[in-house]
């Protein structure tokens, strides 16, 4: 039980080395942010992200999560920039004091599509990669094990934190605390419950650090890992190839004066 969104669908994308996926995601983000044309984002979406989503069999969950994140942003983006973009000159629609400009919409389209790529690519990574595997893979590549510990531990602490809050609430109800009433009253109740919860979690830190030290967390030995991280020579090559190709894609249009 942890607070991650990972779903194990066992697809070929799931089975990739996490670092391969991470490199791919970074390349995609760099390309769409470096090439300032809306159709580049569209192209990346069509040839890379959407096919990957289909192969991963996480398409539905991906669109649901991404829509919740993106919809509010995109709506605000188009409305605000359509109406108030400082560089806006060409009026499309006018309605009283409100004027929608085509420059504003164009600007919003450019930013909006890039955000779509950013969100879809990273959510897809998270959906198809168990955080534990990502951390093991990165630690194996020289990342400080402290990063891996903090991230994994936090992901599992958040649900434990909520469970404990629920347990405390239940125990107080069993002592006659009524939780009915207005939202304001509920906030008032939550505060004396959260205070001790937080204190409790923080005072537990002493025990937790003792237990970690006792199991060699402070050791300077080279870490090994119980569960092997999947990898292949094709992936090893592609982890170098992808950044090279991206670089070429970004540099060539400038060098040839196409942009």
């Amino acid at each position: 039980m942890s607070s991650t969104v990972y779903v194990d669908r066992g697809s070929s994308i799931h089975r990739l080395n996490p670092v391969t996926k991470l490199v791919a995601m970074l390349c995609i983000i760099v390309i769409v942010f470096a090439l300032p044309v809306w159709w580049v984002s569209g192209l990346v979406l069509a040839v890379a992200i959407i096919p990957a989503a289909v192969v991963s069999r996480c398409g539905r969950k991906l669109s649901r999560i991404s829509a919740t994140i993106l919809l509010p942003i995109l709506v605000v983006l188009f409305v605000v920039q359509g109406l108030t973009f400082p560089g806006g000159k060409t009026a499309l629609i006018s309605w009283g004091v409100f004027t929608v400009t085509s420059e504003g919409l164009h600007f919003a389209l450019g930013i909006g599509l890039r955000l779509v790529c950013l969100v879809l690519a990273s959510v897809l990574l998270v959906l198809t990669t168990h955080p534990g595997d990502l951390m093991s893979a990165l630690t194996a590549r020289g990342m400080s094990p402290k990063f891996g510990y903090i991230i994994s531990s936090t992901l599992q602490l958040i649900p434990a934190f909520r469970d404990r809050a629920n347990a405390i609430l239940l125990a107080q109800q069993a002592r006659g605390l009524s939780v009915r009433g207005s939202p304001l009253r509920r906030i008032k109740i939550m505060m004396p419950l959260l205070g001790p919860l937080i204190l409790g979690m923080f005072t537990d830190v002493e025990d937790r650090s003792t237990a970690m030290e006792a199991r060699g967390f402070g050791s300077t030995a080279r870490r090994t890992s119980l569960v092997p991280v999947p990898d292949s020579s094709v992936q090893r090559v592609s982890r170098w190839a992808m950044p090279m190709v991206s670089l070429a894609v970004i540099v060539v249009p400038f060098a040839t004066g196409a942009l």
């Binding site: 405390i168 069993a174 002592r175 006659g176 009524s178 939780v179 009915r180 205070g195 204190l199 409790g200």
Partner: protein, 275 residues
């Protein structure tokens, strides 16, 4: 404060995840009775008693607390009738001082301030923590925190008191203290229900014992009889109290529940042999 009738009628409980933790339990408890529920971890003991204060509502069957059906009342209302001491005191303690924490329950029940303070002081005296009344609960030892949690429920003066593992994490002095509290509650005529792994504690303070395995009641009766059911206890992975094991090994055919009974019987036996 006199006790109240408690009645479980063919209670089943299935967790949302699908595990059926209680599978057809019927149990009636009279006012002022003292009942211990024993059995292995995972036998369904905690799930069963949490039906009494409405934390769980039966998926089938009914639970009555006095004239109330638990499904008609929420946890906070049932708290006026059923005091519940949680196994882990840290899930219960939250105030900045021991005294304030103990006052929390009675205050929620609408008891007037002077009476609340009086009750809290009395409860702290019962559990032997008067000197610590201004301390922060986080600064106390586990044994002391467990006793603060107990005092918090005592101060509510509920007719029924339920305790989940009151002796675990306690040292000898703490166990003796909890034992005295059980006797005080009994003298007040309150109904006491305890979940425990400590069979010696159980035999000394609880005349009635209920054995649970796999969400069902395996045995229910007076302590002397139940602790004599070697086969049932073995199946439930419950080890009889030390004195009963001893008397069984001695081939007495009598199950003493406490030191006094043991010595008494022993003395009688010896005098008969001599005489």
């Amino acid at each position: 404060m006199t006790g109240m009738h408690l009645r479980f009628e063919d209670v089943h409980y299935r967790y949302p995840a699908g595990v059926e933790a209680i599978r057809g339990v019927s149990l009636a408890i009279e006012p002022g009775e003292r009942v211990a529920i024993v059995g292995q971890n995972g036998a369904g003991k905690t799930t069963l008693v949490r039906h009494l204060n409405g934390i769980f509502k039966p998926t089938a069957g009914t639970v009555h607390v006095g004239d109330w059906l638990t499904t008609d009342h929420d946890i906070a209302e049932l708290a006026a009738r059923v005091g519940y001491v949680f196994q882990n005191p840290d899930e219960q303690l939250f105030a900045r001082s021991v005294q304030a924490d103990v006052e929390f329950g009675p205050r929620n029940l609408g008891v007037v301030p002077e009476e609340t303070t009086r009750r809290a002081e009395q409860a702290l005296a019962t559990v032997g923590l008067v000197e610590q009344k201004n301390a922060h609960p986080h600064h106390l030892s586990l044994s002391e925190r467990k006793r603060v949690a107990l005092a918090g429920v005592l101060a509510m003066h509920t007719p029924i008191v339920v305790l989940d593992e009151p002796t675990t994490g306690q040292d000898a002095a703490g166990i003796d203290m909890v034992g005295k509290v059980m006797d005080t509650l009994a003298a007040d005529g309150r109904t006491v229900i305890v979940i425990t792994h400590d069979m010696d504690f159980c035999a000394e303070h609880f005349p009635r014992v209920v054995v649970m395995t796999n969400g069902q009641i395996q045995a229910d009766g007076d302590a002397r009889t139940v602790f004599g059911l070697a086969q049932t206890l073995a199946e439930a992975a419950v080890e009889p109290p030390q004195l009963i094991r001893l008397s069984q090994r001695l081939g007495w055919g009598y199950s003493p529940l406490n030191t006094a009974e043991f010595v008494e019987y022993c003395a009688r036996r010896r005098s008969e042999r001599v005489g």
